[in-house]
Amino acid sequence: MRIDCDVLIIGGGPAGLCAAKTLCNTGLKVLMLERDPFLGGQLVKQTHLFFGSKEQYAGTRGFEIGKLLTEEVTSASNVTVMLETTASGFYLEENFILALEKEKILHQVHFKKVIVATGASEKSLLFEGNDLPGIYGAGAVQTLMNLYGVLPGQDIVMVGSGNIGLIVSYQLLQAGVKVKAIIEAAPVVGGYFVHAAKVRRMGIPIYTQTTIKRAIGQSKLEKIETICLDANWQMVPGTEKTMTCDTLCLAVGLAPMSELLWQFQCDMQYVSELGGYVAKRDSHMQTTHPGVFIAGDVSGVEEASSAMLEGTIAGLSAAASLHQSPESADQLMKASLDFLEGMHLGPIGEKIRSGLSKVEVKSCM
């Protein structure tokens, strides 16, 4: 079936929802495609209170932010949401997105502008036995635990001490699971200190300069062997230690899901600080393809708060390019750009600033 819209938003997570929010009740026909049977993306699994400032819902739990945004977007008469619908590909010559609804119905979606907010997927780690049942990405543990109330296991080791590793370890404790240790290859803890402080006082040790050498088990994980790393990130023979566990959780980073952007023939670049291949963009989230905007983790892996700001900026940009800006667009754009800059300013933002400097281009308009 052929569907026409003014602005197509691919992805109903925090970035896509905030883009849609800015376009609510404008004269634009907005279509949102989301492959899950619900909106909210990664927000639905987040039980912790969000950081940032009150404009970014600081102090509100992630899954509650997801609900608020979903209610706003689904109640707008100019926004149509198609759930269980995957944007499968972009056909360059014919200029449409092929969408597969509920694994059965194909649609040709024609649009004037598109906001790609497809997020990022979990990376894995290379070690012997890394495919045993019982070894999960951190997101999978959150999905099992927080979305469906099913425990991934009873005796867990977490790999990675970035924010995701620290937060998921805390969430495991809340679900009543024993977390034996957090293993971190770097010499320092990767995530916010306050997240680490929480899990340390609850008795979870953090072993820095340590990595997984192998996972052992017959039909599922039974134990792991860890090994220390030296200052050059090389394994130190003789420092192997064995730990029993039935669950290993890999929180080792995310990679932007940028396949569609390649099909749009946007200028792409590999930027390790941003997680992988990202599209070049201007400060208003427009890529080198005039009709394509990006927002959220697909533009560079950060936090949900940044995703929400980028979604707002991308939504306003798309509307402006169609000369249908919502009321107070200029104020909202300025405030969002200022907040986003503020998020990147501190020492924590150094990596992101370095990454963005490699892909930000002058105005793509």
């Binding site: 492959r35 899950d36 045993l132 999978a140 109330g149």
Partner: protein
């Protein structure tokens, strides 16, 4: 194993359903993915790798990694981590050849 009490979340379960996995009957709720239903029933091997028949289970649980593919109602390679379980579903493990 299912969580009974949680300090922050409440779990509202859908309708109870029964289904089979390789001929054996199990129970779950119809708003959860097949893989989650299997894990709640203690089944952690969902598939086997094609060449060496290594057991595989859930890895990403969001439809990206292909670790969870099973045959569902005769259709092969269904992503069980996103496909919801339904009443009387017939689920089968694929590529069960026992060679190592």
């Amino acid at each position: 194993m299912r969580i009974k009490d949680h300090p922050i979340l409440e779990f509202h379960k859908g309708k109870a359903v029964t289904f089979t996995v390789d001929g054996r009957k199990y129970e779950a709720y119809d708003d959860e993915p097949i893989a989650v239903a299997l894990y709640a029933n203690g089944i952690t091997t969902l598939s086997y790798s094609l060449k060496y028949h290594r057991p595989r289970g859930v890895f990403c649980c969001i439809g990206n990694c292909s670790s969870c593919l099973m045959k569902v109602n005769g259709i092969p390679n269904v992503r069980t981590c996103t496909q919801r379980v339904r009443q009387d579903m017939v689920i089968e493990t694929q590529d069960k050849g026992a060679t190592k």
